[in-house]
Amino acid sequence: MPMTLKQLFERANLLKQRLREEEGSERYQAWLKRAKNVWRPYQPKKVRKKIAAVDSGWNYRMYGGFYLYTIRAMAVAPSSETVTEPVVEVDIIPMGVEDSGIRPELYMQGVAECYEHDLASKASKFSDIVLVDGSILARLNAMDILKKVRLLKDYVVYMRPLKNARNILFISKYSQDRRLIRGGVGDVYYINRATRDIGYTEPIISEKEGVMTSVFYVRLSENSDAMHVEVPAIVNSEYVKSVIDALYGTAVKGYPYALMVAHEMASVPNDLMDMVVEAAGLAALPTAREVLEVG
């Protein structure tokens, strides 16, 4: 075996031992106990609500001298019908983005999030609940970087209507938020190990850039993973219960189906990107073929 591989697996093994030790430790048990204590089991009642989900997708191709990118953003119902006019953008990443040390991914993500926020606030007028894939707090925290590419002003404009929008929920499955359990890794890790049943945690309030955000966890079906939820408004546990009631009947493996549909419909897979490149008359240009698909 080449040396590097041997070392690689030795390292992996070390990590395993460290995690094992951690799991046997007293503080780990304390975190689990804390997760158990904050968990509120709940028996949901199925309530039919109008649900919409917002997601975006982007892809880009690198050419000598420029990047071509495509963004799609959608607000859809679980029936695949769009709730508001979808947004598409095909363009060249502005010169200067790279100069300011920002990767094209970050730029496209900033633009896509602007669209998502715009669609979410529009959709919230026609829907009982609007789900957005992501974390508003994480977005607010990272906002400063956008200053460098002159995107901040737009970003703030689209962020503003979300303030106090009680029916817009930011959902993430893989959150690293640690503010509730304050453990070694994200809260969901301990919640998923300490509890199995449908339920929630009481909302805790955070403030960032003048936006009050309620943060809580919910699990929509037994034995599935809990989700990290943020609402850009102040809400209480009655509100959280009503959210579970509304989403519980539509979840697949504990994840709201509408978000799966939105993801599917907004994504820009490589073969679609190929067609865009062709339509843009760039098919003949040599490309780095550094294709990245992100949903």
Binding site: S221, T250, V252, Y257
Partner: protein, 496 residues
């Protein structure tokens, strides 16, 4: 016309794929437009899939996915593949012309109208006869060209109970109505109750004079590995025996001579005695299959009749010898007829072979392999054609099967049988073949020269054939109760 779908994916002139809103069944006929004109397609596969449900890995998720899928019309995909039958203009004239270009992707797909299908499938000119209805269109009668059956051979290949014998009986009836000649080699005495006016039921007879000594040994049921017995029989069966007015006496006389001859060794004596016993027993049990006076087997087969040859009383090898003998004579007779010589059969003869794999096995030569192969190859020239019937097509001699011009296929589940069918006829594609096991009794794919267009057909049930039905054992046992067995009391039993 009703629009039912839209062409998607890579279309080829002979093959299209399309999405549909409602379910479309295999066997349906659809049409689309190409630059060459309107084309008729046969739907060969039909898929229905939920993208969401296809991706789940456990029961609970499946239940959740079911609910979610129900609310999302886009999640369910209905998807068909269809094969071009030909340009409608040509098909209506009985010609199969393929388009030179496929339809544009996005072209509308329409359901073919009943009226159009009637014009294609129903034909009341003299050589055509009705056999059933389109499986997906009750209102469309399907006719087949009986002339092609009588000249280009037909294979009926289907699992047991799918209606092979019924179709053969139907063809026999239609043949009788056209005053045709047919011989049914009835291996299981299935057709003895065939209620067709012109049907004749014959028990074949063999003139032993026409057999060589090995064949005679086979007919007498002498085991094929009993080489000594066969050797002695060969010694005794000389020219004099064959021409003697009393065949059996002459043969036995020769055997007795062997026994009594001083110079015969002990072993041969014993063997000859044994052979004498075998002949006596054979004549006692099955003497009526031999007729030393019959000039030709043809004497008992009548032209312009349905001749059912009951082979059920014979062993496999005996049946093969009889078939070889009969078919050779018939082929020769028809050769004479075409050459303008004296003959018994002035018009074509159709020979139907039930359990065809018994007579033309794939892995060895049977006693009648050669003559059947000859008829398959050159029978057409002389007006002798075959209808092969089998439930194990892959066990058939492929050379013979590949000479078949027409096919009726149903319900084959074994992959080897399906592959065989696809090999011998390009009309049954892999997609269509995959639907074979799901066909019900009487539902068959008709393809080849006897139909204008391949189709899934519900064959008519023929009432004249009261055969193939399972025995009602319970009824029959119940009847036995009343047939005079004295009840025995317990005391009687104890005493016994």
């Amino acid at each position: 016309m009703v629009e039912i779908g839209i062409v998607v994916g890579e279309a080829r002139p002979e093959r299209i794929k399309f999405f549909t809103k409602e379910a479309v069944r295999v066997g349906e006929f659809v049409v689309t437009d190409t630059v060459d004109g309107r084309v008729l397609y046969l739907v060969e596969s039909s898929k229905l899939e939920s993208k969401l449900l296809s991706s789940v890995g456990d029961y609970i998720t499946a239940i959740e996915a079911k609910e979610a899928s129900k609310a999302n019309p886009r999640d369910v995909v209905r998807y068909c593949a269809a094969r071009a039958v030909g340009l409608i203009e040509g098909v209506l004239k009985g010609r199969r012309v393929y388009p030179t270009l496929p339809p544009e992707p996005g072209s509308a797909v329409f359901l073919a109208e009943d009226d159009l299908l009637r014009q294609i499938f129903h034909n009341d000119s003299r050589e055509w006869v009705e056999v059933g209805r389109l499986l997906r269109r009750d209102g469309v009668i399907v006719s087949i060209n009986l002339n092609k059956v009588a000249s280009r051979h037909l294979a009926i290949l289907a699992a047991t109970g799918k209606g092979k014998s019924n179709l053969l009986a139907l063809l026999a009836k239609e043949t009788a109505e056209k005053n045709g000649t047919m011989i049914i080699l009835d291996y299981h005495a299935e057709y003895c109750k065939l209620k067709i006016e012109k049907a004749r039921f014959v028990t074949p007879r063999i003139n032993p004079r026409h057999l060589d000594s090995e064949e005679l040994a086979d007919m007498l049921d002498i085991r094929s590995d009993a080489t000594r017995q066969r050797g002695i029989l060969g010694r005794a069966y000389n020219k004099n025996v064959a021409s003697s007015p009393n065949f059996w006496e002459a043969l036995k006389k020769n055997l007795e001579d062997i026994v009594e001859n001083e110079e015969t060794d002990f072993q041969a004596k014993v063997t000859a005695e044994r052979v004498l016993e075998i002949i006596d027993r054979g004549l006692a049990i099955k003497g009526n299959i031999f007729n030393t006076e019959t000039e030709s087997p043809l004497d008992i087969i009548e032209p312009n009749r349905i001749n059912v040859l009951d082979l059920s009383g014979f062993t496999e090898i005996q049946a093969q010898i009889i078939v070889a003998r009969y078919l050779t004579e018939i082929l020769n007779d028809r050769k004479n007829a075409t050459l303008g010589r004296r003959s018994r059969f002035k018009s074509p003869v159709v020979i139907a072979v039930e359990e065809a794999h018994t007579f033309i096995p794939y892995d060895r030569k049977s006693k009648c392999s050669d003559v059947l192969a000859r008829i398959a190859r050159e029978g057409r020239k002389f007006g002798v054609s075959l209808i092969l019937v089998s439930q194990r097509p892959c066990k058939l001699d492929a050379d013979v099967a590949s000479q078949m011009g027409s096919f009726a296929v149903s319900g084959l589940t074994h992959p080897k049988d399906q592959d065989f069918v696809m090999e011998v006829t390009d009309e049954v594609s892999t997609e269509l073949g995959a639907s074979l096991p799901s066909l019900n009794t009487g539902e068959m794919i008709l393809a080849g020269q006897w139909v204008t267009v391949p189709a899934l057909v519900k064959v008519d049930l023929i009432e004249e054939k009261v055969i193939g039905m399972d025995l009602n054992a319970i009824e029959m046992w119940a009847e036995d109760v009343n047939v005079g067995y004295r009840r025995i009391s317990t005391e009687e039993l104890i005493r016994l």
